[in-house]
């Protein structure tokens, strides 16, 4: 299709501005990569990347068998893990419905002197898997523990996030 010069000019202007704006936005986002993250991982906390004396969010999986609930108060203690590092968390309010062992969680709070994360707010994170209860049962009976598969997947994604985080720091 033959295009008239003035139209070609307008089209080029549009395409160039899209590329230009895209580049600028990309660079800005790349520069503010850390700020765009909602939470940091236990590995980053253990590596000393956690902000001192300031509230921040930490995210990961609730470690299997780590949840201890007080029988008298709402206090819950658990470990959040990214399969590389663990962080102890305490929380003294009602947990969200989806809080369970092996599932994702995002906690807001700060580290105390002993390196325990005292949470003021805990949110449940869920993954992109949508499965019927029977399907999960069947999978487990057939010897494909869903948890193990999910944790392996989560581990991969957490690894990727760590890589990108360290790249961002460099």
């Amino acid at each position: 299709m033959a295009m008239k010069p003035h139209r070609k000019k307008r089209l080029t202007a549009i395409l160039l501005s899209i590329v230009g704006i895209g580049t600028v936005v990309g660079l800005v986002l790349y520069a503010s990569d850390q700020k765009m993250n909602l939470f940091i991982t236990p590995s980053e906390v253990n590596a000393g990347h956690a902000p001192k004396d300031r509230i921040f969010r930490i995210g990961g999986l609730v470690k299997e068998g780590s949840v201890k609930k007080s029988s008298t108060t709402l206090l819950t203690e658990f470990i959040v893990t990214d399969m590389v590092a663990d962080v102890y968390i305490t929380y003294d309010k009602l947990m969200p419905d989806l809080f369970r062992e092996g599932q994702g969680v995002v906690a807001m709070g700060r580290l105390n002197d002993k390196g325990v994360f005292v949470a003021t707010d805990v949110l449940a994170k869920h993954d992109e898997e949508y499965r019927a209860p029977e399907v999960i049962d069947a999978l487990e009976r057939a010897g494909h523990p869903q948890e193990a598969k999910q944790q392996a997947e989560q581990l991969n994604s957490v690894d990727n996030q760590n890589e990108s985080a360290t790249n961002g720091n460099n």
């Binding site: 940091i40 992109e128 996030q161």
Partner: protein, 247 residues
């Protein structure tokens, strides 16, 4: 192919063509919604973690997808109108805005109501939710900018530029869950992998997606027709159509 394109670009031809098409689209939309609601609310399984709240997915995910889809249509038709000065392209672009804003708002509302029982909060400023809120403001900005000019041609072009610039937000929304740590989970359906969802849930979701798509086409057509009448009021065929005579 090109004659068809030129016909589509003629407001008169589009108006007459859509008069015949519209009843069909309304029926298809209604039937798809009935089927989708039956599958989603009555026949699909619950999620092993979330229980019945997973049923919000069938109205939330299509709304979010269509909010982004309508924006892409708005920006592309805006760009076509800007470069080739095609009247119909601008009419379609302008008509997309309010439907798209509606989808985006519905995605935000249903997402908030879904977030409370699953995450434990209605809202959080993570990358996905924030970039999606920006999409809603882009729609509002587009409509406000278009209303700010008395001259329709200037308004069309200014709004088209805003739509094109705002297009960078679409990939940001899509990849936000991969690029950054977010509370929002990753994509369930992607082109290259098997969807991580059971078949009965997937069926309900796909039917609802089709229903939303046809709703979009129907609502868009209705808006485009209304816009054509106003913009073409000085041409003979509109006058004949409205008053019923040639005078």
């Amino acid at each position: 192919m090109w004659t068809w394109f030129y016909q589509l670009a003629s407001p008169k031809w589009f108006y007459q063509f859509s008069t015949r098409l519209l009843p069909w689209f309304r029926w298809i939309t209604g039937l798809l919604f009935l089927l989708g609601l039956a599958l989603g609310l009555l026949f699909s399984q619950v999620d092993y973690q979330q229980g019945n709240t997973v049923r919000i997915l069938y109205i939330h995910v299509p709304a979010a997808f269509m909010g982004m889809f309508a924006y892409v249509v708005m920006a592309i038709t805006g760009a076509i109108g800007f470069v080739w000065r095609i009247k119909m392209a601008h009419i379609v672009s302008v008509s997309c805005a309010s439907v798209g804003a509606l989808f985006t708002l519905l995605a935000l509302i249903t997402g908030a109501v879904w977030g409370k029982p699953t995450w434990g909060t209605y809202w959080i400023w993570d990358a996905r939710l924030t970039s999606f809120l920006i999409l809603f403001f882009l729609y509002l900005g587009f409509m406000a900018l278009h209303n700010a000019f008395d001259d329709k041609k200037t308004a069309d072009r200014a709004a088209a530029v805003l739509a094109i610039v705002g297009l960078v937000n679409i990939p940001i929304i899509h990849f936000s869950v991969e690029w950054w740590n977010t509370l929002h989970q990753g994509a369930t359906i992607s082109k290259f992998e098997k969807p991580s969802m059971d078949a009965d849930m997937l069926a309900a979701l796909l039917v609802m997606l089709a229903a939303y798509q046809f709703y979009f086409l129907t609502a868009l057509m209705q808006r485009v027709r209304a816009e054509i009448l106003v913009r073409e009021k000085l041409s003979g065929w509109v006058q004949k159509l409205v008053t019923g005579n040639n005078s």
